[in-house]
């Protein structure tokens, strides 16, 4: 009798059929809107710049690289990345349970953990293939306004790397939440928009128990200081070195996937009749 395939080949097989399914699902409409909004904003900003010029706010003249940095920070880092991580990550197993199709997956001669990993890889491919091109399009629309594409290219590369790291880490973390807990979406939203926002401003070691602490250190140049309070608060924000950030994000990803895999292996999923 043949041995059942290993974890990785099984995960790749699950990825193969999940990717297309995930890409053309109803959830992707939300993903499209989320990713399309910054592109639409960029088009509007470009049209305004071409006609009336960018506004001067509080004495500071805006230019393309500044607006791009703001969009990355305010839209992507603070909103799009956590929301995608929560929305997709928590649903990797939960959707199969809700649709009552998880049984079919569990009856296959593959390790159960490979289902989670394969679906995680499909989620990653989906979001990266949508988010990263959108960021590149926004970059070419916005940065040439008073800026230089070549000069700002390192910033784009850093921002893209940060987005990849953020989507991977949030996805893995919420994949575990989705696999292990009953109300994963609520827990995920509370974590992403409650816990993470709060601990970053609390002095001490608590901030190290957040993903944003490690993620923001990858792109400190994008962090706006728009008021005296945020300037003062930023004094309390210790920024870890890049290697610590990358190590932290990698550790959270690996731990999230491992714990999620264990949860899928051990937990009994009761399908509602």
């Amino acid at each position: 009798m043949k041995n059942s395939p290993g974890l990785l080949p099984s995960a790749l097989r699950v990825f193969d059929f999940s990717f297309g399914q995930m890409l053309w699902s109803r959830r992707s409409v939300f993903l499209g809107l989320l990713v399309g909004a910054p592109v639409v904003i960029a088009v509007i900003v470009r049209m305004v710049a071409m006609t009336a010029g960018l506004p001067v706010i509080n004495g500071a003249g805006l230019n393309g690289p500044t607006v791009f940095g703001l969009l990355i920070w305010v839209l992507f880092v603070r909103f799009v990345v956590p929301v995608l991580g929560v929305y997709y990550g928590t649903s990797l197993i939960a959707d199969e349970v809700d649709d009552k199709t998880i049984t079919y997956l569990f009856t296959r001669p593959v390790p159960r953990a490979s289902i989670l990993i394969g679906k995680f890889l499909a989620y990653l491919a989906c979001v990266l293939l949508l988010v990263l091109p959108a960021v590149v399009v926004v970059y070419f629309l916005i940065v040439p306004i008073g800026g230089n594409i070549g000069q700002s290219f390192p910033q784009l590369a850093a921002d893209l790397g940060m987005l990849v790291a953020g989507l991977t880490t949030y996805g893995a973390l919420f994949a575990f939440v989705g696999a292990a807990l009953k109300r994963p979406l609520i827990v995920g939203l509370v974590f992403a928009f409650g816990w993470e926002s709060t601990v970053l401003v609390v002095p001490g070691y608590l901030k190290r128990l957040s993903v944003a602490y490690y993620l923001q250190a990858l792109v400190p140049h994008s962090m706006p200081a728009d008021s005296s309070i945020s300037s003062l608060l930023s004094l309390f924000q210790e920024t870890p070195p890049i290697w610590v950030s990358l190590a932290g994000l990698t550790a959270i990803t690996v731990l999230g996937l491992w714990l999620g895999g264990r949860a899928v292996e051990k937990r009994e999923y009761v399908l509602e009749q």
Binding site: A60, G61, L132, G150, F153, H221, S228, L235, T239
Partner: protein
């Protein structure tokens, strides 16, 4: 994978590849530079010694024609400035406002005091008239490697002598030479002669100092800039250790300014390592917060303070600032009151 999915993946990867490829090419090749920069800094760098620790440049004609300069003339006694300009023209034959296109200056910390500054002015000059005027004021004309070198009578300056630990009077000379049509070099005779050597025989100029050129390249876009090595200046200044230890460990500094209706500037410091840069960023953030708090009741300065943006990654700390013309108006209004006091 269905055909639809495959096409989506291909289109997505294509957008990313084209975008990133274009960005990468633009980064390495660069887009068309201004006349000020030919991609490797101004052409005047080839006359400056490679050991120069500070290099600065100003687009004189552009700044003289700017709105800000016209405004300042009205605010700060334009008639007196015109008198100074006329005196300079009588002394040298050069009309600062119209004849000079740009000036590139250098300070070489490895040369002795009084012997370490050089300025290269590009513009429209009448060499015969300038030489005649300077001779009238006591200058000597020498011949150096086929170039006429006008040497101003020596002048005294004080220099610290490490052997005696005292300031001693030393004599130094200033020289002026027309290095090529439309380019005049003036400064210490030693450095002017060195500029002539570099022009005739080649050698190691600032244009071959890759580190310096890389820093200068990052200043493209401004009409006035300065870049320098803080560590070299610190050694030259012989600052007491107790004070030197208080100064942040900065290796390079640069300031890029653009003068038009107001002044936009970017000040950049490169620290010794990431930790020093983080500490410096923290210090600057503190000052920015303090400044913002102090100006909450002063709307006229608030706009200026709000424009301060701290940035930089790794070993680099940068501060962007925009000084609108209104700030200069306020300074102009306040200056008579200060003078009365």
């Amino acid at each position: 994978m269905t055909a639809k999915t495959r096409y989506f993946v291909i289109v997505s990867l294509l957008v990313m590849t084209v975008g990133l490829g274009t960005g990468l090419v633009a980064y390495y090749v660069g887009f068309p530079a201004t006349a000020f920069f030919n991609g490797d800094g101004p052409k005047e760098l080839q006359y400056i010694p490679s050991t120069a620790s500070v290099v600065a440049a100003v687009e004189v004609r552009e700044i003289m024609a700017s709105d800000l300069r016209q405004r300042l003339r009205q605010q700060f006694n334009g008639e007196e400035q015109d008198n100074h300009r006329r005196e300079f023209q009588e002394l040298t034959g050069i009309n600062f406002e119209t004849d000079i296109e740009r000036i590139v200056a250098a300070f070489d910390s490895q040369s002795g005091a009084g012997d370490n500054a050089l300025a290269l002015a590009r513009g429209v000059f009448d060499p015969v008239k300038i030489e005649a005027l300077m001779r009238e004021h006591g200058a000597d004309v020498q011949e150096y490697k086929g170039t006429r070198l006008i040497v101003v009578a020596s002048f005294d300056h004080k220099e610290f002598d490490p052997a005696t630990a005292e300031n001693v009077r030393r004599k130094a000379e200033m020289g002026l030479a027309f290095l090529e049509p439309g380019l005049v070099g003036f400064g210490s005779t030693t450095l002017v002669k060195h500029a002539i050597d570099l022009h005739t025989g080649g050698g190691s100029s600032a244009a071959t100092n890759d580190e310096l050129v890389a820093h200068i390249r990052s200043l493209e876009g401004g009409n006035a800039w300065v870049v320098g090595r803080v560590d070299a200046l610190r050694e030259r200044a012989q600052i007491p250790e107790v004070i030197a230890n208080q100064i942040p460990p900065i290796t390079w500094f640069s300031v890029r300014g653009h003068v038009d209706g107001g002044v936009q500037a970017r000040i950049t410091a490169e620290a010794k390592d990431d930790e020093s840069a983080n500490q410096l960023r923290d210090v600057v953030r503190g000052f920015l917060a303090l400044a913002k708090l102090q100006t909450t009741s002063k709307p006229e300065f608030q706009r200026f303070v709000q424009s301060l943006q701290l940035g930089g990654t790794g070993k680099t700390v940068s501060l962007q600032v925009e000084v609108p013309a209104q700030v200069f108006d306020l300074l102009g209004a306040a200056l008579p009151k200060l003078q009365q006091q």
